[in-house]
Subunit: 221 residues, 2 copies
């Protein structure tokens, strides 16, 4: 029975493509905006016009999770928003530590969007004595030597790497050894970690090069 269950879950996971997963946070953002504007109900057609995707795409995407609308009645905005939040794991507390308390680390610590969605920054770490001991939005910057003790005594779900490329691989390996299972990597390097560690990369250099490519290829038209 346990096996069958496991199998079903695996099948379920396979069905949901990375492209769908990438769209979920955008649905969540639009539904949050609607909710704040006191919209109670919305059809997939109205939502599709707002989001600039097709209504059939929206229906298909949501059907991956069982569908949330009733034919002809549209979606209850608050219900869909809350269910989408659960799917994204935002109903749980996701504690984050930030490795590297420079501008980028501070920008993340200061971003209030994260707070609203169950992400809590619980500590920053750095090697720079000028930064150690300061607080960012009430959160302390610790000496990186305290990392092991901190992780042992806190429920750290995610570690954000906002440190130089040269230091990222070693710190990422330390984090994995200390049991951290999710890395949000801003360093311009591909981390090589055990399979059970989830890595989400934000490569700003690659993003701006993609933009440059698009500018440049248009100029050649």
């Amino acid at each position: 029975m346990a096996d069958l269950n496991g199998k079903e879950k695996m099948v379920n996971e396979k069905v949901i493509s990375p492209a769908v997963i990438k769209r979920l946070p955008r649905y969540y953002r639009y539904l949050g905006d609607l909710l704040r504007n006191d919209v109670v109900r919305i059809s997939s057609k109205e939502l599709s016009e707002k989001m600039n995707v097709t209504a059939s795409q929206i229906r298909q995407d949501l059907n991956n999770f069982g569908g949330f609308g009733q034919q002809g009645y549209g979606y209850n905005v608050e219900y869909l928003y809350n269910e989408m939040g659960k799917i994204l794991g935002l109903n749980k507390q996701n504690n984050i530590i930030i490795l590297g308390a420079g501008n980028l680390g501070q920008a993340i610590a200061n971003n209030s969007d994260f707070d609203h969605n169950g992400f809590h920054i619980i500590g920053l770490f750095d090697v720079n004595p000028k930064l150690i001991g300061m607080t960012v939005k009430g959160v302390e910057v610790y000496d990186i030597d305290m990392l092991a003790d901190f992780i042992a005594s806190h429920d750290v779900k995610i570690a954000a790497l906002t440190l130089p490329k040269s230091k990222a691989p070693k710190v990422a390996k330390d984090l994995a050894d200390l049991g951290v299972k999710a890395i949000w990597n801003f360093a311009p390097v591909d981390l090589s970690l055990p399979d059970d560690v989830i890595i989400e990369n934000v490569h700003l250099s690659e993003s701006i090069m993609t933009l440059s490519y698009r500018i440049h290829s248009r100029e050649q038209e």
Copy 2:
């Protein structure tokens, strides 16, 4: 003849899928690392092992641009690096202004990876009197009231939006009206601009929600 040419160019553009374009900066990064390590020549097999993609994928991707290797001889690293840089438009000077001189704007201005690749931050803009007049890595923070004059007198290729969601749509529209054709948008909002303005989004909230989804769905296995 002009028409035919236009058509060919369009066909050329269609052939290169967004997925390929997204991979180019990663090739460029790896080639740069090889070059700095004095590697002169590399086979697609060796490159594929380093990059954790298949050799056939590499050959296919590069063939989109005419291919750069000779069967059995591999790629000349420096030549491929330089050609890739040209494709990405990194051989041109891409001047950037940053709208919003808070932590995130400063993090971008301080990122030396950009300098190395032909991206030059030439000005930051803010409304906050505490920030106006300061310099970040030698670049001045201007009053946003000076934006129109600045754009009229400088060759601004890209505007980075590192300001609050509430202000981003208005500033983006102003930038488009002032002739800026490429927006690097960090605000958590979808900008609606004329078709000739290229937008590249970096939505940090969506990135961390995708990570949270992956953590959460794994916990349910």
